[in-house]
Structures are given as C-alpha cells and as structure tokens.
Symmetry: C2
C-alpha cells in the first residue's frame, strides 16, 4: 500500500493518530508509529518543558516517523516552536488557526507541515500557505469542531473538488469500513482520534476510557457553540451547560461556567462528572480498551474486507 | 450491478430518491424510476385525494417500480393507507414513527415495506416488525433529523454491525464518491434527497431551487431541537428561530413561532424569507438545476471512478 500520504511521511499505512489533548503522549504516539501508522504528540495540553520531555522519549521509543500536533491558539506558541525545531522534529500538524502564520517558518527548517481544517475556505488558505497536506475534519469528531457542522461524508468530496493537496479525512473513522469510505470520498489517508484515545497506550485516565467504552449513540453532542463548539461526552458538566444554554446563557456566562482546566480534570484526572470529556461519535462503537497493535489489526482487516466487497460483482457495472 | 436492494425492488441501480415534502410528486418520482432508480412519492405533504391523483399519474408515467413514502405522524394516516392499498401500490417507505404500527398491515397486502431510522434501537424494532429493508439516515440529511445527531459515516457501520437487513444509507449522499463510500460503510443502497429536490423535475418552487444552488458550507443547520430537530437552509425565519433559541425560548414559544404551513410556503410557494427551507448539507455541492437523467449519469460515472480508484494498487495491500 503506497500512496501520497504513505510517501509523504514514509509510513506503512496511511493512518494518522490524531494529536489529542491529555491522550497522546509518547507512549501512544510511539505505539502507533511502531505499528506502521504516524503517531503524533498532542502538544496542546503540554507545557513547553513537558513537550521537550515527550519528544526526547519518542526518539528512544521509536525509529519510525512521527510528529507533533500544535494548536495555533497555544498561548506561548513561540516556546513550543523553538523546542520543536531545536529538537529536530520532522513533521508538524498545526490546527485551530491560520496556516499562514507558521507554515513558512517550519518549511524553512525542512519540516513537513500539515494543517487541520473544516471547510473549503481554509483549504485554499492551506494551499496558499504551502502546506504539504491537509486534514479535513468533520462534525462527528471529538473535541473542538467547525462552526459549519459539515460532516466528513459531506466535507471530503467538497475539499477534494477544490483542492489537489494530499488529503487526510478525520472525524467518524472508527472502523476499517469508514477508512475505506474515506478513500472512496477522495481522501489519501485517515486521521483517527477516539479509537486511540481509548487505547491502552493513551495517557487518558482509565476511568475516562471506561466511560468511553460504555458510551452509546447520542452520548456525545456539541456544546458551548456560543464560545467555540466542542464535542463532549454527556455528564453532569455537560448537563449544566445545556441547561444554561437552553435558558439563554450569554457567551460570558458560559465562559464562567467552563472555567479553566476542565479537560485535564475529566480526561487526565478522571473526574468524570465535572470534567470536560472530549470524544467523537464513534465512541458508541468502542467496546473495549485495546492495545494499539490490536486496534490497527482490526482496522486493516476490516478495510481489506470492505475493499474486497466493493470489488465484487454486486457493486460493479460497465454499461454506462 | 445486482445486489439485495436492486433485487428487492427490481431496479437497475441501488439508488432511491427520498420521498420529500413539496418536492417529490409524480414528475420527479417517475423520472427517477425511468432512469433506473426507485422513485418515491412524498405523501407527507399531500392531502389524501392529491396522493391518489399522483399515484394515478405515476401509473401512466412509468412502467418501472416505484413507491410511496408515508411519515407515520400524518394526521389521517388511515386514509392514506386505504388509498395506497386500493390503488395497488407495491412499495411503501414509512418514516418518523414506530415500524410496528403499519408493517404487518402492509405486508399482508403483499407490499414491500421499508422503514427509515436514525439509530440502532430502531434497527432492532424494524427487524422485529418484519420490514424488508431499512433506510438509516444521518445528521447531514435535510429536513427532520434524529436527536442523537449521528452522522452517516458513524451510523451505517454501527447499524450494519447489529442488523443484517438490506440497508440503505441516507444523508450526505451528494456524489458518486459518497455513494461508493456508503457501500464501503456496509450499505446495500443509497437514498438521495437534496440532489433530486433541486432537480428540474422536482415540484419545489424554482426560487427555492435557485437558493439551494447558491448555498455554501454551513448554510444549513439543525433548528428547533426543542420541538423536533429539522435541518433548514438559513433565511430570515431561521435567524428568528436561532435568536429565540439563544434567548432561551420554550418549546411552546417555538411552536408558536413556527406556526403552520411554513414548509409549503418556503419550498412550494417560494416565499424564501419566511418559509421553512428543508435541504441537506450537500446543498453546498449543488451548482445547477439539472434533469434527473443528468444527475443519475454524473452519480454513476463518479461512482465507477471511485471504485476504480479503490481497486488500484495504491489502496490495496496483502501483507496482513
């Protein structure tokens, strides 16, 4: 299996592990890279010195390609970028911001740059900024989410239509069937978050992973749209937010209710009722906490079956 | 191309035209059936005598299989069912209700019954009720929408996992790429609404179709969640609803704001600012009003290309 994404990153399978706050430290990222995908450290939840520590551990834990995800809203982003370049990181995924800001700086250092988007307007900005590839993420994804609410099924063909860059589909990729679907839609690779957030190697708290395993359909919804939509697993905090929203809470009131550090509290410290629990819709399909190796094996096996099914005579015709 | 869905309905391609209020009368449904798909009359917006008229016109307009979609919330549904059975309709799609209510009655008359669902709980109810197939519809679909907000990409693999019935994917199917993706996800067919709502043969008002052509990303969103979520194209009425919702409007206040007959006003009479304009996210991909024949041709051509791409060496490997 060799395409633009495997070639760009020099990896075996076009499967990227999304860089996620509180889940994707060196243990998870190195496990994904060692199993043929591309592991990403999620710098969004790391202080600069913590990121440096994880980068140094990654170098020991894997000889395969890997990268770092940097949300461009990070307050002291210059410090992160200094560490990334001085430590010789080769692949950077940027998200939640304008790709024009950092792409040139990173490309000059010889770094492969990928930017995460949720609409075609940003696809054009990515092309102008000179990124090497884009991740297009749909509404079903966990965590922070685009305001258009475009789903992966609707988003990917649209991005493909207006943009020739190597394209990675994200949001709702919870099975090999969905991976095959992403390629049918026009993607060259997939970025997977939730399955890996609930993996053995994820740094998320065990209690959070167990709650993800229990989650059913409709148990994640977008909340806090007035101050930046985020997909959360329902809990007491989520219910408080919805009550406030239904009563017409203002953006300032919602910011006060949210406060600081809730994602850490929920996902990393396991405070399930009052924490912010970011996970995607595919949580409803996750039925156990598995090692990355098993997750990859199931994904790839299902993917091969899905392609075999599509190449059978039932799905083909030649009389157009 | 022959699979469980083409065989069930005795059609050439596993493409169903969704039965839509104010769009899918005999002109649209017969055009779809005459071009190898399955056309459905949308009874939801027809008084009983109007449905009878459309059924009788269908019999003249096509010799191919076709059906009727009946929303189970229809107030005098017994009258509709009487007409459907006395006129000898052979295929009925039911939606928005419990499949246990009418499936037995219709099956006894030898009618093929399909039920529309948005979650796995109803897939089990469909199996118990003895339907012949199910339509699973995701969040990106236009009009009325499930409260779980599960997208088609997340929904179809989950339904497939728990249910063996012939499965039709709906919501977000706006291209041949998406059609191929639906099959990759595990569906046996696709139901398409928006593309046909904006077709030449649709009975929707020309002004509404032109607005759909102009729609961009994020121009449709779910509204009225407190009284039953519906995906609408943004307009003055939509803005009024959002303002009311943001200010904490109660369900009763929203019902009063909605009033009666807004979908007819917007979609059928072309009152674009104050009408209710139901359309799916794929509206952003629709760039002209085309005849059904051309829509089918583009869909099938793109579908063949998508399958060819997936069968290329770039997407295959055998070393698992």
């Amino acid at each position: 299996m060799s395409n633009r994404i495997t070639q760009l990153f020099n990896i075996q399978y076009p499967i990227i592990q999304g860089g996620m706050v509180w889940c994707s430290g060196w243990r998870l990222a190195s496990a994904v890279s060692n199993n043929g995908g591309l592991g990403l450290l999620g710098a969004g939840s790391m202080r600069p010195e913590v990121l440096r520590e994880h980068i140094q551990k990654m170098k020991v834990a894997t000889a395969k390609p890997w990268g770092v995800n940097v949300p461009l809203l990070y307050p002291n982003i210059e410090e992160l970028m200094d560490i990334i370049t001085s430590e010789g990181v080769k692949i950077v995924f940027t998200s939640a911001g304008n790709p024009a800001k950092w792409t040139g700086f990173l490309k000059e250092k010889g770094i492969t740059v990928v930017h995460v988007i949720a609409n075609t307007k940003f696809a054009a900005k990515c092309a102008d900024a000179g990124v090497d590839a884009i991740v297009a993420e749909g509404f079903e994804a966990g965590g922070h989410n685009g305001k258009e609410e475009t789903t992966t099924l609707a988003l990917i063909p649209h991005i493909r239509k207006v943009c020739d860059l190597p394209l990675i589909a994200a949001g709702g990729i919870g099975s090999g069937n969905a991976m095959a679907a992403a390629f049918a839609l026009g993607a060259d690779g997939v970025q997977i978050g939730s399955l890996f957030a609930a993996s053995e190697e994820s740094s998320a708290h065990e209690a959070f992973k167990n709650l993800v395993v229990k989650a059913g359909e409709g148990d994640t919804l977008l909340a806090l749209k007035k101050i930046g939509a985020v997909r959360l697993l329902k809990n007491s905090f989520f219910d408080e937010v919805v009550s406030a929203e239904n009563a017409g809470a203002s953006p300032d009131e919602l910011k006060t209710l949210l406060g600081k550090g809730r994602a850490k509290k929920g996902m990393f410290e396991g405070e399930l009722s009052e924490g912010e629990l970011e996970i995607g819709q595919v949580a409803s399909m996750i039925d156990s906490i598995k090692p990355v190796k098993d997750i990859m094996h199931v994904l790839l096996s299902e993917y091969v079956l899905a392609l075999d099914r599509l190449s059978s005579v039932s799905y083909r015709f030649n009389n157009l």
